[in-house]
Symmetry: C2
Subunit: 207 residues, 2 copies
């Protein structure tokens, strides 16, 4: 269920020569090290040096492959879904039930420090860095949002959602309150809250 | 109109002895310096040293009065509304028109770099620092939200809003999409977008 909110399917990898395989091992070691260190130390204390040491690679390897610490974190989150099938939302034919399942899965992700800490670090870096924000939209948010919109289009065809609804807006109404409450720690994140967001979104965009 | 979204009325100050007046002048100089430097240098490059130099005070003065750079920024934003009357939303009796005016004012604030840069810096610091987040809620977001809820209660009494609506949720649906789009730079911030958020919120919480 995790993949439906943030994880993203990677491109399946073809066989590679030895040097490429060694490179790939280093790359994976860096991403794993970054993902582990953020919840352990707190993002502010995670340095490129610390990631390199934990991964057993040279600092220069990291500087060569990634433009910033934030870009390492983005890749470390993307790597969680490499090799998985493409993102697809459940489609039981009942939009409310499907969205509740997806939103509750997001609430569960935010409650998991192993996932929460790198995602918070990435969200902060994105707010500070327009280039990273563009990279995030292109490689993570864009494809995930497209999968969500596919489910919403199916609901429009089934007459469960206003046919002229702006689907970007629908997604924002559904997710932005949850993500803001999480980011600012301004209220409890519960299944009831997830359900309330689904219910009000469906009222707002009822056919 | 700016006060309705972020500015906050300060407590009016009574006459003070000379030492207190000198302190107050230093405090104001620090807050002005912080507010000016953030759009000039970018928040990451604004140091306590730079703020002290611009304000003409010693570094230790800043360290004595504020626990962190984020706390200086929070106070520098609060200082914009010191001496103003208490926050109050327009109440023409027409909820949709009043909310559109307030939301469009917020869109205009986000378009103003002098206001936008410190607010972005504060939002980022809040996401990273739970203590600052609590201070922000207590001193800025809490009172502003209370003023907004007062307007919503008046609309409930007038039968323009569902009487059992969770007003925190109403505010989140209204503001979180706008604030997230701003923070992530994920879409245009326009008057039409402000109006669309008002319209969908009123549909979602119609009586």
């Amino acid at each position: 269920m995790r993949l439906v909110s943030f994880r993203l399917a990677g491109v399946s990898r073809t066989a590679k020569p030895n040097a490429a395989r060694r490179s790939e091992r280093s790359r994976q070691a860096v991403l794993t090290a970054a993902r582990e260190l953020v919840p352990e130390l707190g993002y502010a204390r995670v340095t490129i040096e610390a990631i390199a040491a934990r991964a057993g690679v040279g600092k220069q390897t990291i500087y060569r492959w990634w433009p910033s610490k934030g870009a390492v974190i983005l890749d470390s989150i993307l790597a969680l879904s490499e090799g998985e099938q493409g993102v697809r939302l459940p489609d039981t034919g009942e939009l409310a039930a499907d969205l509740r399942a997806v939103m509750r899965a997001t609430v569960a992700e935010f409650a998991d420090p192993v996932f929460e800490a790198p995602l918070r670090a990435l969200t902060i870096e994105i707010a500070a860095d327009p280039d990273l924000a563009a990279m995030y939209r292109e490689r993570l948010a864009g494809p995930v949002d497209e999968a969500k919109k596919e489910r919403l289009r199916s609901a429009q065809r089934a007459g469960q959602l206003r046919p002229d609804a702006d689907l970007d807006l629908v997604l924002e109404v559904l997710y932005a309150p949850l993500q803001q409450r999480w980011l600012r720690r301004s209220g409890p994140l519960t299944d009831d809250y997830a359900d309330a967001l689904v219910d009000l979104t469906l009222r707002a965009f009822a056919p």
